[in-house]
Amino acid sequence: MTSAGKTMKTQMVALGVAVLGLGGLAFAMFQNPQWGYTNLLVCAFFFVTLAAGGLVLLALNTVAKAGWHIVLKRVFENYASLLPVGALLILLTLVNLLSGENSIYEWARPGVMEHDHLLHEKAAYLNSPFYVIRMVVVLVLWLLFSLRLRGLSGAQDKDGLVERTNQAVRWSTGFLVCFALTFSMASFDWIMGLEAHWFSTVFGMYNIAGLLSSSVAAVVLTCVLLHKTGWFPEFRIPHLHDLAKLLFAFCTFWAYLWFCQFMLIWYGNLPEEGIYYIRRWHEGWQPLFYLNFALNWLLPFFLLLPRPLKRSPNYVAAIALVVLLGRWLDIYLMVVPANFVLPPIGWVELSAVLGFAGLFVFLLQRRFQKVPLIAKKDPYLQESLNLH
């Protein structure tokens, strides 16, 4: 009874924060469209990548025919179940794209294409109708895969057929191939397109690395909280240890790609490539540029090195929170300098982050109350329960 009361209370708090934050953001979107929509894009992209990240983690483990993750499978699936809301939120950025003068996408502002030769050359790709079609197609594809994979898992809860797992392996393979391509395209369109003169071929990969590290961080945080409140006794130290190892690895993968992109551009020193880092490495953005690297790699790497620390729940959860904060900053640094010479960090950022975080927690918690947390008829379940 008390735990149900507590759940109710967290849910009300999350909803209250969501309403206040999103209200503030909506106000900003009317009052100062550039600032408001910039933050909407940052947070909606974060929201979508976390939801899609759940599906990616599920598919990766399914393709590998892994057994260790079955206890966590429903956490991955519940993340994926937020995809429809994430899709709606990212679709909201279209209002801004199509709004002409106030668009945060330079190429979408009226008169720009005609006078900018380089952008004009890209007009066959960078035009509003094609952009909208690409966005819708990408989101629909992810939703279909999400429905299929979660559907197979739900059906297995009823009939326990091993064939469901085999089918999930095939669908996951298809999803991973599709996702690698479509997510690269999506990050090119939604984020890289903000500075359409600039280009980086590793950009999609870089975002996949960020997606992986932040999704694992979010899963760690969820599992530890569920375990602490007594909902998740099956989640044990070996699971945490494996997740912490993944977090460590993906943070390092992120750093590798972060540096790949930076070093080649720094070394080449070509104006149309360098402008991206000139904006981010000078003036008010510089501290954030270094902070980004510290939060996403330096801290998690050294703090997660010792084995005993990877096995202590509160500690890993705290680092997961750092990585999530770092991921927000990473997206912020990709998006905002395109239109702002100085970091405009203020009440809009605060209300956007709180609003989206509140909404995410609220929806996720409702989802956890609806579906059984353990996929009790999965053929690999015992292996995961016995994980050492």
Binding site: F259, M263, W266, Y267, P306, R307, P308, H388
Partner: protein, 165 residues
Amino acid sequence: MSKVRTVGWFEQETQILDATKAARKAKLRVVDVYTPYAVHGLDEAMGLSPSMLTWVCFLAGLAGGGSMFALMIYTSAMAWPLNVGGKPFASVPAFIPVTFEAAVLCAALTTVLAFFVRSKLFPGKKVVPLERVTDDRFALELLAEPGEARSFFERQGAVAVQEVP
């Protein structure tokens, strides 16, 4: 009566785990456990303290990366400053890949060497391996009174017991 080394062979992974735990509970000294593959949970069952190898690896990585970084700074910025494409002499981003490679190489090689030194392995060393422990059996080696070890192994369901010199 002096204590002797006695080896018992088991057929199952679970048996060797249980036997190892039981031996430590019965205050018998566990000399070593031999298995065909890494058995999860055996470290805890044997009561091994955390390996120092991780520290060797970490420090060797730091030393390798650090010395390579120092070498590059010294050669290209101090001993003979070299202008490459107008970049600063001490171009840290350009040095990172080599630093990283040197750290990985040094950490890996040192860890392997440290492992060989610690386990006293070197070329030409003659070792008579226990039978079948590289194939399908799990062996537990105890140091105990002869009769005590033998009866312990029989109670645990060992398929073969042998005293070794």
